[in-house]
Assembly symmetry: C2
Homo-oligomer: 257 residues x 2
DNA sequence: GAGTGGATTTCGCAT
DNA sequence: ATGCGAAGTCCACTC
């Protein structure tokens, strides 16, 4: 629908919201938000999207992020007041709402999108972890994983095992350049494990690279670094027969179970 | 433009991209991404948005987040191959690209959005900091701020000052429920300051609330907690005369300058 | 250009 | 429901 009156637009929008359709509205609007924080957006031309699951997006002409939004699960109201069409999205928990005020509407589209396609992502931190479990030499020759996502005091150790000399090894994985925080995190895990066992404990930070100066932090904390590209891990995972993983999960005992 | 042929759609899209217009395309598509990671999205009906600044969004019928995207600054190519219209967004740094393959297009809109309205946000963590600087009693009776965003080893201390007994006080601000990480962060700052001065150093975590179990962590680390609502801070800031802030910035020396 | 921390982060998973 | 950490996080800001 193009250049509808506010009344026509409201009818279409109301219908679309009731039928849980995807809605696209282009027009001149201003926006108010109150809840976790508060915000005000002055008048301008924007794109409003309301999705089937009750999420709301207000996009400006620039930027990856919506200027205002509301996550899935909202309840909607529409009304016309003073020559203004108001679309209000209300969220219960946390209690918040977004109000979009339109005084001119250029386009309204109500869509029923059929979309069952699967989305798959490769080269996440989880892929790196799986690759290391399948091919432990990626960390170090002779490394043998014992458990993963092992609970220790401050949180969960990504991978935990022994090296060729029988020392315990704590592995912390980052999928991108590791900063100082990663080193501190690993240090906390190593300390926690040290307090539990009676053997030397080494810490290895696995990441594609480390930020400048972090090597010094690692040295001071007596930790080491192993370069590993998440994309290479995805490749290795693909090549590495599923059998290997199956063996691991079969023979080794999953610490989470 | 509704239900165009792929050729008609391509002409419109090419034109819109060349003129840096905002583009909305609704159709059946599949998507590939390669770069920092890789992803594949199978066939389905989605909304593609390309903005003036060269950002790209592919939205499904559900969810706040785009399933695929590209941040601002992309270069675009379009082509038709095997009855398929391909929109390709290329980013130089980091090197990555998204390809959207359409085999059916329901709608194409090329828009020139006029949008100069200002966006303002209230009650951010920064607002809490300003409120504390303007009204230090919010932290504790007798607290006197000395500096803010002070650089110490691990990072920046939110606010730094002295209490009524002359002890140094490090304040860590969180805008929402503080987790264990916040306690650790504060502990690191306190330790860092302790190494620099010859007086007792206290650490106060300021947040609307703390997560379950964090009180125990705070106790163990000898830190305390002060409840403070960011919304209230925004209120106080509004009421608190700008004069007070001006005084502070005039008399005290901004540690950042 | 890299590093650091915040976000109305969102999202998913585990407790 | 809550807590916790990852994210192709994005983004703003400092160095």
């Amino acid at each position: 629908m193009e250049n509808p009156t506010l009344q026509e637009a409201e009818a279409t929008i109301r219908e679309a919201l009731a039928r849980r359709k995807c809605l696209i509205v282009v027009g001149n609007c201003w926006v108010e938000y109150h809840g976790r924080a508060s915000s005000k957006l002055e008048s301008g031309e924007r794109i409003l999207i309301v999705k089937e699951d009750g999420s709301l997006l207000v996009h400006r002409a620039k930027g990856y992020e919506p200027v205002n939004w509301q996550p899935p699960g909202c309840i909607f109201q529409t009304m016309i007041e003073n020559e203004t069409l108001i679309v209000k999205a209300i969220r219960r928990k946390p209690a918040e709402h977004v109000k979009v005020f339109f005084n001119k509407i250029y386009m309204v589209s109500a869509l029923s999108l059929k979309d069952t396609g699967t989305f798959s992502l490769y080269a996440s931190e989880e892929d790196m972890q799986k690759a290391i479990l399948a091919e432990p030499w990626l960390v170090e020759e002779g490394f043998k994983p014992i458990a993963y996502e092992k609970k220790v005091e401050p949180g969960f150790v990504d991978v935990y095992g022994v090296d060729s000399e029988g020392n315990f090894v704590v592995v912390e994985i980052k999928r991108k350049t590791a900063g100082r925080e990663a080193a501190f995190q690993l240090a906390r895990y190593v300390d926690a494990i040290k307090g539990m066992v009676n053997r030397p404990v080494r810490g290895i930070l696995v990441a594609p690279s480390i930020a400048k100066g972090v090597q010094r932090t690692l040295d001071a904390l007596n930790l080491s670094f192993k370069a590993l590209d998440p994309r290479r891990c995805a490749e290795i995972l693909k090549r590495s027969e599923t059998r290997k993983l199956a063996e691991f999960f079969g023979e080794q005992h999953d610490s989470r179970s």
